[in-house]
Amino acid sequence: MPRVAIDVLLKRELLDPQGRATERALPGLGYDGVSDVRIGKHLELDVDAVGEALDALVEAMCAGFLTNPVVETYRWRVIADDERADAPATR
């Protein structure tokens, strides 16, 4: 079953106070040269569909429920097991 990863951010023109606070904290920790920090959401789900049916289902879920198009944008992709954000670290 395909595993779908969805990344969600606030629209670019909207203030992201979490991103701003984080960005302001970085220089104090010695991390210089970092700007435009935006913090959003990462969703992963198994979806029992393939091809166009998968596309249509994921798009419908994203636009209608998983994100709020009034304030958020998103990208999604099908990922492999080792691309899961919770995949065990490999060394």
């Binding site: 203030l15 106070p17 606070a21 429920f65 998983l66 709020n68 009034v70 304030v71």
Partner: protein, 227 residues
């Protein structure tokens, strides 16, 4: 006959009892509505109360607006029935697209819980009819995600159509809301959402004052006048 005002309880609603009490103090009958109900028991108006429905999962109001009772509330609103969303209720109305825009994290990331000055901009809704135009109120706010946002064209439309009903007093915007907007109405003017809590300001023995009472009294007055 006494007007009947439905107050919806979602899992995680906090202010449903205060809203019901406010309705009673104003002289109405409060009718408890449950999120799993398919109908709204023939009430004359609906209040969506504050709280953290469904634990604010996904987004504030995102799950609640899909509850069975909300389909009935949406039908009621489409027929012109008065609907008031307070705080989380405002968030639910925005998620349900019964009101435009959305409510995001406060600009300073802090949960704010204090009285704020609120100006009544419009008195031509059932929920602001009990006030005088321009009246200055003090109402409590208590929210972490109350920053009202909408795109510029929507904000311009709200302004030009006189749909900004309540505005934070100058210098008192507690959350970074666009254009100091505290509460808005829909095009038909029967649905109102606001972040401040009128239902917490209805009892003179408590410290929050009584500036919220006219929101409920005005509603009951407008319900009586159309009968």
């Amino acid at each position: 006959m006494t007007a009947r005002v439905g107050v919806v309880t979602f899992p995680g609603s906090l202010d449903d009892r205060d809203a019901a009490t406010a309705v009673r103090i104003a002289g109405g009958d409060a009718v408890a509505l449950w999120h799993e109900d398919d109908d709204i028991k023939g009430v004359d108006a609906v209040v969506l109360p504050g709280g953290f429905s469904y634990g604010d999962s996904l987004r504030c109001g995102a799950i609640a607006h899909l509850a069975p009772v909300m389909a009935a509330v949406a039908r009621f609103a489409a027929e012109g029935g008065p609907v008031l969303g307070i705080c989380n209720g405002f968030q639910v109305l925005c998620e349900a697209r019964l009101l435009p825009g959305a409510l995001l994290r406060n600009d300073r990331l802090r949960f704010v819980s204090r009285p704020v000055g609120v100006q009544v901009e419009r008195t031509d809704t059932p929920f602001s009819a009990g006030y005088a135009p321009g009246q200055r109120l003090v109402l409590p706010v208590k929210h972490g995600e109350g920053r009202y946002v909408a795109d510029e064209s929507t904000l311009d439309e709200l302004e030009s159509e006189g749909r900004v009903v309540f505005r934070y007093a100058t210098g008192e915007n507690p959350n970074g809301s666009a254009r100091d907007i505290a509460g808005i109405t829909n095009a038909a003017r029967n649905v109102v959402g606001l972040m401040p809590h009128p239902e917490h300001a209805v009892d003179a023995t408590l410290s929050e004052g009584t500036d919220g009472l006219a929101m409920f009294a005005g509603l009951l007055g407008s319900l009586t006048s159309v009968r």
